[in-house]
């Protein structure tokens, strides 16, 4: 049974069909890539599945239950974590606070605990802190734990965002251009980190990316999106050799 299924999803912005008849199938633990030129509708697909937009047509099923019409926080709570194309960090909060904040809904102490520090609060907070520590180490940001994210190098900020997403213990993680703006060194580091997280937690990953080398090395399945439609789908080798993909990326003259 697939972890995430999208059936014939379409979405209109006013009169414009941004996504047309899109389907997707991600098995537990699979790494799936979405590529395509700028403006093809990749981030729109992310926003549709994560509940920021509601699809005009079609069905989205997470763990075999429809999530169409649910609020983004409800979908997140069902095990869908995400990072954003433009970093969405809380600039003046520390790295540790970012990761602990992601465990907000797992802290159940009440107002009394908040003011007087009951044993329950102490236990929950120290448990949260330990889990945060593990994640910060995994994503290589533990040495920045008590620094505000504003002061971190760009690559580290990206990794903080991923650590925060993973702290919610998702079943599937959406990464929107995880290597945007990174230098080659950071890129290799990021690839290694995604592999490590994938191995350790067995989390399914769905990623948007422009860097072909990154996508080809990491993903088992790749879809190519052009003007809101999937024009090619398959393994990295199949995608690399598909004339339609080459045309979309390089223009038709190159194919002829």
């Amino acid at each position: 049974m697939a972890l995430l299924e999208v059936h014939h999803m379409s979405h209109d912005f006013g009169g414009l069909r941004a996504v047309n008849n899109y389907s997707l199938n991600i098995e537990p633990g699979e790494i799936h890539g979405l590529i395509g030129p700028n403006g093809a509708g990749k981030t729109t697909i992310f926003n549709l599945i994560t509940g920021i937009y509601r699809p005009t047509e079609g069905d989205i099923r997470l763990d075999n239950a429809s999530i169409v019409g649910l609020q983004p926080y409800q979908i997140a709570a069902r095990g869908l974590g995400r990072t954003f194309q433009n970093l969405q960090l809380w600039r003046h909060m520390t790295v540790l606070e970012h990761v602990m904040m992601a465990r907000y809904s797992k802290l159940t102490y009440g107002l009394v605990g908040a003011f007087f520090g009951t044993p329950k609060r102490k236990r929950e907070e120290s448990e949260s802190r330990e889990k945060a520590q593990v994640l910060m180490e995994l994503f290589g940001v533990d040495r920045f734990a008590n620094q505000i994210v504003l002061n971190l190098p760009y690559g580290a900020q990206r990794r903080v965002e991923m650590a925060r997403a993973m702290a919610m213990e998702p079943k599937i993680l959406f990464l929107d251009e995880p290597t945007a703006g990174m230098n080659p060194e950071e890129l290799i580091q990021m690839m290694e980190i995604i592999r490590r997280a994938h191995r350790k937690f067995g989390v399914g990953i769905f990623l948007i990316e422009h860097r072909m080398r990154f996508v080809m090395e990491l993903c088992q399945e790749i879809q190519t999106l052009v003007f809101g439609e999937v024009i090619a789908e398959g393994t990295p080798e199949e995608i690399q050799n598909n004339p339609k993909v080459i045309e979309a990326y390089l223009g038709s003259e190159m194919v002829e």
Binding site: Y73, A77, M101, Y104, Y109, A114
Partner: protein
């Protein structure tokens, strides 16, 4: 106009300045907290301070009256605690209602609509008070008997010490609340975005409600202390002192908790010390010219950020 240096160093004036600063700081905190998470100034907040003072007045009058009549035998400090707790609870309900009725429907509306709504809610609270209780000034009952201590030739009342001490304790408690627990963390995160915070399982509405409740409760504390120090209440008090606290919130830096406290005390000091040097009829003119001058050179206030990159979806 004579400049009396002795006056400037007089401890009496310092304690007065701290007391006024406490009122302004407690009220300014409400403006700042709401601004930091919702990016709007709750212009009804001054009137919530007024409502808090009147609720405190009601509870204190009742308890003092019963004690005098002999049907209750409560010591003054118990009455004070009950008045504070009761007024904080009831005023925070008023604050939450203002948020629910006035601001939540306007969450995505232009900021100007929310500002106008705030002003209208303020007028409604003020006029409502006039209708209920009339235009008569009320004098706040004496909850604690005033005792004057003489320390090194300076006369200080127990009430002033209590007001400054308890106000500082509330500010410290708020600081710890925001720094140390999950709701405070959520409040701080909301200051940056509305996009990711809900994904963490945080309800934006619940945090907004809580912020209004805390801000209103602190305004109620300011109202009661104001009543105890200057025992006259009138329906327009919210405007007069609320606006000055609003100035403190701006001066401290929009959305900054620390800034609101600091600027609240600074305004207290400026207001007390300006009349020692200049004629007292020019007090506000000169005091607020100084503040204007500070803002010309520090438009973002003391602790404010030069820009806000909050993303809204």
């Amino acid at each position: 106009m004579t400049l009396n240096l002795q006056n400037l160093l007089d401890f009496q004036n310092i304690i007065d300045a701290l007391q006024w600063g406490s009122f302004y700081a407690l009220i300014a905190l409400g403006y700042s907290m709401v601004y930091s998470i919702l990016m709007l100034f709750n212009f009804a907040h001054g009137d919530i301070f007024m409502v808090g003072a009147y609720i405190g007045f009601g509870i204190a009058s009742l308890l003092v009256g019963l004690t005098v009549a002999g049907s209750l035998a409560l010591p003054g400090w118990v009455i004070l605690i009950l008045t504070l707790l009761g007024a904080m609870c009831l005023t925070s309900i008023v604050g939450m209602a203002v948020e629910r009725i006035g601001y939540r429907p306007l969450r995505d509306a232009p900021r100007a609509s929310a500002a106008i709504t705030g002003l209208m809610i303020g007028i409604i609270l003020e006029q409502g008070n006039l209708i209920l209780l009339g235009a008569k000034r009320r004098s706040f009952p004496e909850i604690i008997e005033s005792q004057t201590f003489s320390i090194g030739g300076v006369d200080i009342t127990n009430i002033k010490i209590m007001i400054v001490g308890v106000s500082l304790a509330f500010m410290l408690a708020l600081h710890l609340f925001i720094k140390k627990n999950k709701w405070g963390m959520a409040m701080r995160a909301m200051a940056f975005d509305y996009l990711v915070v809900p994904l963490m399982g945080v309800s934006i509405n619940a945090i907004a409600r809580m912020t209004f409740a805390i801000g209103s409760a602190l305004a109620a504390v300011a109202g009661i202390f104001f009543g105890m120090a200057y025992p006259v209440l009138e329906p327009t008090m919210g405007i007069v002192y609320g606006w000055k606290a609003f100035v403190a919130a701006i001066l401290g830096g929009r959305g900054s908790i620390m800034g609101a406290c600091f600027a609240g005390f600074l305004i207290g000091f400026i207001e007390i010390f300006v009349p020692l040097v200049f004629p007292s009829t020019l007090r506000d003119l000169i005091a607020y010219s100084i503040i204007l001058l500070i803002l010309v050179y520090r438009p973002h206030g003391f602790f404010g950020e030069p820009y806000s990159a909050k993303l809204r979806l």
